[in-house]
Symmetry: C2
Subunit: 452 residues, 2 copies
């Protein structure tokens, strides 16, 4: 009764059947499990049982299992399976999963694995791996059903039944002409509602939403989230159908792209998760920190340039962290709005201009509010109205400039197609630090030193 | 031939048919369009043509159109449609879309709209709206097909055909018993491959992955991305089937949650996008900035407490922004790793301890590296080894503490189920600012002033 078992009870039952060598009971347990849960059980049982666990599984189940493991575990499974069963599993794996498994493998190991596979399958995988990472081509698979436009509804349904085992989602059939060019799409719902002898051409949609193989994966994600499809056809330059991208891969893309945005905003270093080793995590985080250390020294250099001013009015130092911090914060706020906005929308020139103008107004509004506030605070704290006015007017100016810097810098990088990792949060913060110190000490020197 | 038209050509064609009053030609154009594209055209044409645009559309098309508009435009469309057609459209809208349309509407307007609707539909929407925002219950819809467990495959296929028009995705049928309790799931693929006279009970999966109505939407997103489903059943406390969540809504959830994480990390204020008005954007961003202004003054207070030290060694001020900035940066890095990690994984106590230990090691490693580096820089810049050692050892200590603060504070908030918006990036940065200044001036006072 695996239905009502908890995961731990299941683990015990799995180990029990393996120990007692009851292959059929093991099979019955597996039949009720989703791939993710199979992988969970496989990783949970003691290592000594793993050979038998794999030996008792069908090729289909092994393929499902592989799809849920990371590269080290995948290699380990193939090792335990031996050459013959390995090859069968590889042949059956989805090409996109296979491609991501093979990526970064040693060339010799890759050749060995590909060499044993069916020609057709290994060719398809190699084709996918030829596309650059993070493109639509790299994400597509060939587990879909295509039909010719002259088919009848009845013929299409028959073909669907024949390939049901293979197709990942059955929601749409893609329609091609004699040259394999994509000419239409039929939803399964349409098939159910049409008569068996109608022609596919007459019920299909001709205006197919599609991506080209070389387009960015973000473009595919935008289309799927916009149109609520569960799969999206991928075509080559000549409009021949090359594969499909499915919604489950798109969810992974959306998560990955969000993580990249956050890495960028926080300069937190690539690919650090809960299981990354300390040395690796430190190594990935250090480059940014070292750059920022030297940039931070620039701020120090500016302060040292104003040593005379600071010596004369030590109280200026009290407001320094607040001014630098506020300018950094408002810049990060603007940066976040721009970075996330670009995920969902493309910007025309007119919209860009409007956005910059909007942020300019925002800078003025928050600058005036915070500037007036700090003038009073500084006056009551230090009992010096002149100092209060210097701090207040500096904050007004730095907030406007900080807001604009946080908006314009990422937009320029985006338009220039420069790797936007450069526009990371701490860098904006640091630039704003420097600008704010220059403005603050500049104003202070003019009004407190030169004019007093 | 709408197939080969660009979007602008389409707009011209749409306007043309409206001007000339050719309803049939207009209908033919619409038939080829996806809901998103219909909405695009609707917003693109001049306002004077909108009445006719809506008048020429079928109720089904109007329903699709409504699903793609924001609240203001939705209200405008209903106004133009008049009471009778409006009600038909509302009856046909998906409940989850309807619920999010009705949210935040004036109570009177809501009552008026709900009052005209079919009892059954308005009841379902009100049920959904009773669940708190961001729960599974709020996200579910009733566009799915359920079958009883004693059905045969043949009966199930018939029911599926009957409801094909209504169901959003046809990939799974949910199986219930006499008391409407969820007992199984059958994929459409299984139906295709089974014999017509087999019983549903015998082919269904009994181990159904599901969520409860009151669970967080993030939990639903985790399950869908883990299991690659296109829909997920939602049950009430007693396991009766209440609705389904579909993958298109989950993509929106993933994007929304990522945006919330970024709002949190950058304290950028809720719901600011490219079209937000300046006054609104400034209003949403100000609260955080004002809080941070006062927290920033705390840093100022600390510096003023060490006025004597600063007066004696003005060079200490040169390294202040670097130390505070670096501590803030490393804290933000840790925070980002924790916040994003929690999206994909739940943490056990053991994992939490391991994560904190890992970050402790990371803090030590980057602390030693940056500490040694800055000792040399400070020595060569200021020609003072003692100053170099003070700056270097301070940086070592503040980087370790900053890393731990960025890890532990969000984890505590997460465990306490406190709204993690409190653990926003700038707040961590500010706390780290304060800690780093205390450590820096503390060490400096001890070694440069008291011991000299």
């Amino acid at each position: 009764m695996p239905i009502t078992m908890t995961e731990n009870e299941l683990t015990l039952a799995v180990i029990q059947t393996l120990k007692e060598g009851r292959r059929k009971a093991f099979q019955e347990l597996m039949e009720e499990l989703q791939p993710y849960d199979m992988a969970w059980q496989y990783k949970e049982i003691p290592e000594k049982h793993r050979y038998k666990f794999l030996a008792y599984m069908t090729i289909e189940e092994l393929t499902d299992l592989m799809g849920e493991l990371d590269q080290d575990d995948q290699l380990d499974v193939l090792d335990r399976l031996g050459a013959k069963r390995s090859t069968k599993v590889l042949d059956l794996m989805e090409n996109d999963e296979l491609a991501s498994f093979l990526t970064d493998l040693e060339p010799e190991k890759m050749k060995e694995l590909l060499g044993d596979m069916k020609r057709e399958e290994s060719q398809m995988v190699q084709d996918i791996m030829n596309y650059p990472p993070e493109t639509a081509g790299r994400l597509m698979n060939n587990r879909f059903v295509w039909i010719k436009k002259h088919y009848t509804i009845g013929e299409a349904v028959d073909k669907l039944k024949e390939f049901a085992e293979l197709a990942e989602y059955l929601n749409y059939l893609y329609v091609i002409d004699e040259e394999r060019k994509l000419v239409g799409v039929v939803s399964y719902r349409d098939l159910l509602l049409a008569e068996a002898d109608e022609k596919i051409e007459d019920v299909m949609y001709g205006r197919v939403v599609k991506v080209e193989v070389t387009e960015d994966q973000e473009e595919a994600a935008k289309l799927i989230s916009r149109y609520d499809f569960v799969s999206l056809p991928v075509v080559k330059e000549d409009n021949t159908l090359a594969g499909v991208i499915t919604v489950d891969d798109i969810i992974d893309v959306v998560i990955q792209e969000a993580n990249e945005d956050i890495e960028r905003l926080s300069a937190s270093g690539k690919d650090i998760d809960f299981s990354t080793k300390p040395l690796v995590a430190a190594y990935r985080r250090l480059p940014w920190l070292i750059i920022l250390l030297f940039v931070g020294l620039v701020s120090g250099g500016i302060i040292s340039g104003f040593e005379g001013t600071l010596d004369a009015v030590v109280a200026l130092a009290f407001f320094m962290p607040m001014i630098a911090g506020m300018t950094g914060n408002t810049g990060t706020q603007s940066l976040a709005v721009v970075v996330r906005g670009l995920v969902q929308e493309d910007l025309t020139f007119k919209q860009t201009a409007r956005l910059i103008l909007r942020e300019f107004w925002v800078g003025i509004l928050i600058g005036i509010t915070c500037g007036i506030l700090i003038t009073f605070v500084a006056f009551f704290w230090q009992g010096d109205l002149q100092l209060g006015l210097v701090v207040g007017s500096s904050l007004l100016l730095t907030l406007i400039i900080g807001t604009l810097a946080g908006t314009i810098i990422p937009l320029i990088l985006y338009k220039l197609n420069v790797d936007p990792a450069i526009a990371s949060g701490p860098l904006i913060t640091t630039i704003n630090d420097i600008l704010s110190l220059l403005i603050y000490f500049g104003i202070a020197t003019t009004f407190l030193i030169n004019l007093s």
